[in-house]
Each structure stands twice: as C-alpha cells, then as structure tokens.
C-alpha cells in the first residue's frame, strides 16, 4: 500500500510569489496514496530536511515527492536526507516548481494549477519506483597528468606525494613549459629557472611518477576510475638509457640554422638538440624534419662522436596504453599572433616583438646572453616601448577578455630593462593597470616610482619603421590630452593569452567542453573551478583561463586534492540509473549496441552448464552506461528498460495528465 509524503517548498519568494504553495499542498493531500502533504519556506534547509526525515519515520512513508527547485540543484540533498532516515533514496523524486513553473509563468492561478499537475505526475511515478542500489566501480589509483609545465608539475608532485602513482605526459622533449623560458618572475624577481628546475628534477626522480616526454595523448577510452589512454611516444633517435647527456653531439651537428622554438626563433639550434641546457630529461632528441641523416641519408656525425653509442637512426614512434583512474589537463596557453594588427606592422617588423621574445632577450641563457638588443641588427636598445592590451579587450579584431598577466609582466620587463640599461628609456602605454595579486600593486608602483618607467595612459595607433631603422610609435597621452610620438629601438607588445591551437582536439578526446576561445570549461565558474563536466577529468593552469604562476600552482594543487579524494576509496559509487536488459526476451538484433553513444552495450553469451553457447543477448556495462535511454527507445522487442525511469514509471506520469 503506497504511503507517499508530499512536501511543497516556497523557495523563499522564488516559488511562493507565483505559486500558491499552501493551496497546492491542500490539493495534493487528496491524491490517492498521499498520506501527508505540507508546505514550507525552505525545504533544503536543515529544518526542512528534518521535516522529511520525521515524516518518513512517523508516517511510515514508502515514497516522497519534494516539489521545489530543479533536481539538478537539490536531488542529491534530499535523497541523502531520505537515506539518513532509512528510506531508499531512489524512492524520493522531485517535482520542479521553480525552473519549470514559477520562473516561466507570471499568473498565479495558471502557475498554481500547473504546480498541482506537476506534483500529481511525480506522485504517480514515485508509487512505481523501485529501491535501487548504487553501483560500485573499481578505481585504478593512477592519475594521468597531461602537460609538463608548472601546473602539470605541481599536480603530479602533489598526487605522487599523496602516495598515488602518476603518469606525466609532455609534448616537448623537456619539462618546464613556458615558465622555463622566462627570465625572472613577478613580483619577487626570482630567477624563473632557479625556482622551476628543482621541481622538474623532483618529478623525474620521484618513484611514483612515470615521466613521458616528447609524447602525446592520442586516444582516451573508458570512464572515471577506468580510463585506457593511448600515448604516442615520438621517436627520439637517442636512447635515453645509454645517453649520458654529455652534449658532444650538439657541438658537432652541422645543421645549425634551425629557428629555435624555445627562443621564439630569435636564435637557432641544431637538428640534434636539447630545448635548453637545464632540460629534464637532459637527453637530446633529433628533429627528424631537419636532420641530414634522417632526411637525406648523409652526415651521421652525432653517432660517430657519441661515446656511448646512444644514437639510433632506426628509432620509431611507439604507442603505449596506460590505465588510469583520473586525468588532469594542464596543457597551458599560447600568445596571440599580432600579425592581425596591420597598424603595428602586421607581424613584419622584426623589432616589434612579444613578451616571450623579451624574456629570451633578458634571459642570461638566451640568444643574446641577457643583453637587450634589437633582433634586426643587434644594436643596443636605448628606448623601448611596451604596449599593453595588444589583442586583449578587443572584441573586433582580437579577444574580448583581459589576459590578466600582461600588466604585471610588462612592469617586470620595464624594471628588468632599466636594471640592464641604466640610461635607457622605458615607456609603457596602458589603458588600465591591473595588479590584483599579493604585492602586485606595490610591484607596479616600484616600476613607476623607483625604476623610472614612464607610464603613459593611452593607446598606440600606429608603429612604422623609418628608413634609418628607428621605430616610430604614435600614440595618445590621454591624461595630458595630446598625441605623443616616441622614437623607439624596440617595441614589446603584450599579446593576448590564447588557448593553444588544436586544444579542442584534446578536449574532445577527454569529453571536456571548451568555450569559444578554446579555454576548457570548468564545472561551475564560482564553486567548482578545477572539475569539468566529465567527472574523472580535472583542470589545472592556463588551459582553463589566463592566469599567472601562483594561481596555476594553486589550481594544480586543488586538482590534485580532487584526484586524491577520488582515489581515497577503493571503489567508486555510481548512480544506478542505467539500462538493464531482459535476457529472456532479448533477440540480439543489435540495435541498442549500434545506437549507444558511449559504447556501453556488449554481447553476452548465455551458456548451459557444460559451457555450450545457447544464444547471445545484449549486456549493459554498468560502469560505462550513462543512463541516456537511447537504447530503450530503439529496442524493438521492449527488452531493455532504464532503472529509475522505467517505461511503467514514465507512462504513469503521462497518464496522470489525462
């Protein structure tokens, strides 16, 4: 005998203003099977939840309908309350009187009548609900971290120090990411590599971390707790086991004129190379597109000089599969290409550079040994102009957002320049200075008040090159109310932070959404910044949105905490809202197997006691099924049904409206 309790929530004014909740409660009390029907201001609150628990005990309820907000909001809350009171949580349903009723209608009588109908439907359903038990899924307590920059490094170390295994995959031959290219970091002016490389070494040496550099993720199968990831390890042509990192090969390689990616093409590298001297692993790789032996079959000098015979021209890419339980995406960012701004030279002026170029010029291990020189002719720089917001905050031709880090790194660049060129002039054109972090404002003040950087509020309309090589920068000084023209030797553009090209491909592999700018979407912008819509995939660093190093590190540790929480139990509990096959009636037509978007349905043999196969039926993998119900719709013999939303339950809802 059904004994259903109905609880109508006012949700403050949200529902109560448009729906007459008391009247709804009164009418619902008359429904067959309903033994108690009340209304209350905030059902999700502590007293509200206590009401439900008390009623379950006192009225010996067999089912509960909470008529309130969307189940996406509080179904978990109320089901937990029911479970605590000893009622199977799946015997509690919600009727949505807010998003489906009070928020979309204006007239009280109309909304109230509809509310009564909405509750009636759910009462009919809940009377037919079954007690369901959560499904337990094993978890592989190994994490995959994609990206070996500061965020990936931090996440990997935190998870590994938490006692769990990590596989860290990095696309380039070395760890370090963009942070390894920086000269000094704001606001402390720490030498970037000095604070980074100890962590890189820690990662390489950590017993819990398997490091795969020069590798890329090519395929992701599976689901939370049970991913199977395929990683392509690119051919290095140098055996990392035998190579000692002595560097003899680098000195002798004749192919010396290859633009160096690490130096933003300001300098050159050889075909056999290390991205930078402090690379981890400190073993060179051969760039197959430029190596004379690999492209033309000539040379072979590196193999001749290598003291341990580590060179192997026959090396090939290999694919490995790793089983992991959680994935952290930490793939970082790129800088916008200012070729789109014809007024700044359209990318053709060699002395108009971006922030990374400047970092390499300023860096002691860079192509100029840390001297600020013009890329075009190597001359010293007596006047440098920095331009903020290049591409950022420009909905027409750039990106609409603020890139967050540029005001700070420009102030840093101005300071570094003034330290190196005492008599030099550093002019910064800005719109607004954004220095919101700890000690950030003080740092910018230092650049202006102590280090002598000239800050001009206004935009630059044009940069062109005079025949004598000087760059003419024409801008506006809006505080003085007049135009300003600066003759500069070097111009540094604070190009916008953008997502890496092709980042959408990885997102699609991971089942993670991304916005129109290619940044990966967090599950909730305020309260869930490191989770994604895919429960086993987490985010860390600038792949989610432009951010600086402290925030990237913080987010990486947060992602690691989520992973460790996931791994803290041996099994994962999944919602039992999955499809189930009636093996008696299934004719194995295969329609469901072909239609399932998640590939969750397989063949299952029904055998006799001797092991002879009598027939084959469809079988739903409990760990993979997402409960979408597509198979239920296509099954021709009606042999498959969705737990929690059975045909009987849903048809009862529909009938209740007639």
């Amino acid at each position: 005998m059904a004994r259903v309790g109905v609880f109508i929530c006012h949700c403050g004014e949200n529902i109560g203003r448009t729906v007459d909740c008391a009247a709804v409660a009164e009418q619902c009390a008359e429904f067959p099977g309903v033994v108690t029907s009340v209304d209350y201001k905030y059902m999700c609150s502590d007293p509200g939840q206590q009401m439900i628990k008390d009623a379950i005990a006192e009225e010996r309820l067999t089912g509960v309908v909470v008529a309130a907000c969307s189940p996406r909001m509080h179904e978990t809350t109320f089901r937990r309350a029911a479970a605590e009171a000893g009622l199977n949580p799946y015997l509690l349903e919600m009727a949505n009187l807010r998003e489906h009723c009070s928020w979309v209608h204006e007239e009280r009588p109309v909304a109230t009548e509809k509310a009564v109908d909405l509750v009636r439907i759910m009462v009919e359903k809940v009377k037919r609900n079954s007690e369901l038990k959560p499904i337990k899924v094993p978890i592989e307590p190994t994490a995959l971290v994609i990206g070996g920059g500061i965020a990936g490094i931090q996440a990997a170390l935190d998870i590994a120090n938490g006692g769990k295994k990590v596989v860290l995959v990095e696309k380039s031959p070395s760890l370090g990411g963009h942070m390894a290219r920086l000269s000094e970091t704001f606001p402390t002016l720490d030498c970037s590599q000095c604070i980074l490389t100890p962590r890189m070494v820690e990662v390489a040496a950590h017993p819990n971390i398997t490091l795969m550099t020069y590798s890329e993720v090519t395929k992701v199968d599976g689901f939370i707790g049970n991913y199977e990831v395929t990683v392509r390890q690119k051919a290095r042509y140098v055996d990392p086991e035998t190579c000692t990192g002595c560097g003899a090969c680098l000195e002798k390689c004749p192919a010396k004129k290859i633009p160096d990616e690490f130096d933003e093409s300001l300098g050159n590298r050889t075909a056999i190379y290390r991205p930078f001297p402090q690379a981890v692993p400190n073993k060179p790789v051969i760039d197959a597109d430029h190596c004379l032996m690999l492209t033309k079959g000539k040379c072979g000098v590196c193999a001749k000089v290598c003291p341990t015979g580590a060179i192997n021209y026959e090396d090939e890419d290999r694919e490995v599969t790793v089983k992991v339980g959680a994935i952290v995406a930490a793939t970082g960012f790129e800088l916008w290409d200012h070729a789109a701004y014809g007024e700044y030279g359209g990318g053709k002026l060699r002395d108009v550079i971006n922030g990374f170029h400047f970092e390499r010029l300023a860096s002691a291990s860079g192509p100029t040994g840390g001297e600020i020189r013009r890329p075009s002719d190597g001359k010293t720089v007596e006047t440098v102009v920095f331009i903020q917001c290049c591409g950022s905050r420009d909905p027409n031709r750039g990106v609409p957002y603020c890139s967050k880090i540029c005001c700070m790194y420009t102030a840093k660049h101005a300071i570094l320049y003034r330290h190196k060129v005492h008599h030099g002039r550093a002019v910064v054109f800005y719109m607004d200075v954004r220095a919101g972090g700890k000690n950030y404002e003080e740092f910018v003040r230092r650049a202006i008040e102590q280090e002598g950087a000239e800050y001009v509020r206004g935009r630059v309309s044009r940069i062109y090159r005079r025949t004598d090589g000087t760059l003419i920068v024409k801008g506006a000084d809006t505080l003085a109310g007049r135009p300003i023209e600066v003759e500069a030797d070097l111009v540094v553009l604070a190009d916008a932070v953008v997502s890496r090209p092709g980042s959408h491909r990885l997102a699609q592999m991971l089942g993670v959404s991304y916005d129109e700018h290619g940044f990966y979407s967090e599950a909730h912008p305020k309260l869930r910044p490191v989770e994604t819509a895919n429960p086993g995939v987490f985010l860390a660093g600038a792949c989610q949105a432009p951010k600086d190093i402290p925030d990237s590190v913080a987010q990486a540790s947060a992602a690691a905490a989520k992973v460790l929480a996931l791994f803290s139990k041996p099994e994962l509990e999944r919602e039992p809202i999955i499809a189930k096959v009636n093996e008696e009636t299934c004719v194995h037509c295969g329609a469901c197997i072909n239609t399932c978007p998640y590939g969750a349905i397989e063949d299952k043999d029904i055998t006799d006691r001797k092991g002879n196969v009598l027939r084959t039926v469809a079988y739903v993998n409990e760990g993979v099924c997402q409960g979408c119900g597509t198979c239920v719709a296509v099954c021709r013999s009606g042999s498959i049904d969705l737990e929690g939303f059975t045909d009987e339950e849903v048809l009862a809802e529909i009938s209740a409206l007639e």
């Binding site: 701004y341 014809g342 007024e343 359209g346 062109y464 090159r465 005079r466 025949t467 003419i472």
Partner: protein
C-alpha cells in the same frame, strides 16, 4: 561593348580635371562606353552629412535612382568622396528597407538597389579585365612609385574590401604599367583633406610628412586616385617649400594617368601638363613594352 555609368561629381569638372580626362581617355582605349548619368546631382560630400542625415542619404539616393532608371548597373565615381557617399549610401539602403521607403517619399523616385558603384582603383582594374591589359603598349620602366590611398579609398566596412592598414588595390595596375612599387609607411595617413582652405597649415604639415616618407623610400612619384589628396600633395608643395619644409619636387600622378601613359595615350590628353609640380618628366621613363608581353 561594355557600358559603365559615369558620375564625375563636382571636382572632376573643376580642379580634378586631369582625373576626368585620363579616365575618359582610358575608357576609349579599352573600348568601354562611359555614359554620364543624366541630371546627376551633388553627392553631398562632407557638407551634407555634417548637417542633416536625411539630406546626406537623399542626395546620393537620387543619383543612384537616376542611374538605375537609365539602365546602368555599374557606375564609376572617381572622386573618393563621391564614391564614399554613393557606395556608402547604397550599402545603408541595402541594409535598411525602411530607409529606402523614406528616401522614395522624399525624392519621389523608386530604387531597387541594382546599381554597383566602383571607385577609380576598381575602375582601372575593371578596364584591365575588359581588354586594357592587352593594349598596354608601353612601360614606365622601373619608375619607383609610392601608392597613396588616403582614407576613403582604403577603408569602410562593406565599402572598400581592401586591407585598411596595408592596402594593395593599386598594385596590379602599377605593376602592369611597369612601375616598381616601393614599400613605404604613409599610404593611408591623412593628407589634411578638406582643410585645404579652412586650415591650410594642417594640410601643409600632414602632406609634408607624406611626401617626406615617400622621398625616404626613394620614390620617384606618388600615385593616388583621390582628387583631394592630389590637390593637397601637388598644389600645396609650393606652400610647403615656402614654409621651410621639404623642399619637395616630386610629381603626383593619378593612377589613371599612369595607365594612360602605359596605354600610349599622349600625356596632354591625360592632363599630365596641368599639374602644379611638373609631371611631364615621368614620360622620360616611357619605353616600348617588351615584344613578348605586348
């Protein structure tokens, strides 16, 4: 025989005579019939749109309606301001049917939006397609030119399709005529525009900067298609020199004059002898086109 509507506007009957002459001469060589729009009225230029929005649209609207009634599907408006007003209005009308209705009431003429407006650069390219390319009997052997676009011929959403910062619309024609296009920085910088009379110092300063950059780039001549720019750069050179700037002595040519010379038309017919700064000297560079090409 291709027919193109012709809208000379006020300036081509006045200070922009050379532009008018050279444009007509080129049409004849290319075998294109230029038909002047009957009873055309002033386009309004800057004056109208500074005073009254409706007037600014009605004036070009009437001209477009007249052209359409005359059966002309394409109209060449060599003056950059006339072009800007005519084409700009055509674009606005295409986007706003209510505006078309309003203009119809004001002018008492219908307009279906079938007229395409070409500027002088597009006109020259069009002639090249219509057979002029095969009739270039001469080359201005290696004459170094700085193509100057000014403002109205380099930008405008849906009005000028070129790159606003680094336009290239003149390059095909200039190269076909044998010129060497030099890279320079002031192709789209303001010449001072209509301030020629009301604030001549502005024109003198701005145009001096343009000419200085062209000279820096080692150009032998500056080529433009806008009669206002031409006037500022050509007529005001003497004023610049008198003010102690420059000194400049660089000929300013219309694109149509350059192509006219390459087509073997007599310089006087093109109006080349009417310039303030001697432009006839560029004819010294004229050489017969190599046999393989002609």
């Amino acid at each position: 025989m291709t027919t193109l509507g012709y809208y000379p506007g006020c300036s081509l009957h006045g200070t922009g005579r050379e532009l008018d002459q050279s444009i007509r001469a080129l049409a004849e060589v290319a075998g294109v019939d230029l038909v002047e729009i009957e009873d055309w009225n002033c386009c309004g230029a800057t004056a109208a749109h500074s005073l009254n929005h409706d007037l600014a649209v009605a004036l070009p609207y009437r001209t477009l309606a007249l052209a359409e009634a005359q059966g002309l599907t394409e109209v060449v408006a060599p003056c950059a301001a006339c072009f800007s007003r005519l084409k700009g209005t055509a674009v606005r009308l295409a986007r706003d049917p209510a505006l078309v209705e309003k203009m119809q009431r004001i002018t008492e003429r219908p307009y279906q939006g079938t007229v395409r407006v070409l500027n002088a650069n597009e006109y020259v390219d069009r002639l090249l397609d219509e057979g002029l390319a095969d009739r270039l009997t001469h080359r201005l052997a290696g004459l170094k030119v700085a193509p100057y676009y000014g403002c109205l011929l380099s930008r405008g959403e849906d009005i000028v399709p070129d790159d606003h910062e680094q336009p290239t619309a003149m390059e095909r024609a200039l190269t076909a005529a044998g010129c060497e296009v030099v890279p320079w920085n002031f192709a789209t910088e303001c010449c001072g525009g209509g301030f020629s009379m009301s604030k001549t110092e502005a024109v003198v300063d701005l145009s001096d900067a343009i000419l200085s950059d062209a000279e820096d780039a080692e150009a032998d001549a500056v080529v433009t298609s806008c009669p206002m720019c031409h006037s500022n750069l050509d007529m005001r050179q003497r004023t610049m020199n008198a003010a102690g700037l420059g000194p400049h002595e660089i000929p300013i040519l219309y694109l149509s004059e350059v192509l006219g010379l390459a087509a073997g038309i007599e310089p006087e017919r093109l109006g080349l002898d009417r310039h303030f700064v001697d432009a006839m000297r560029v004819t010294e560079r004229l050489a017969e086109a190599p046999a393989a090409e002609a």
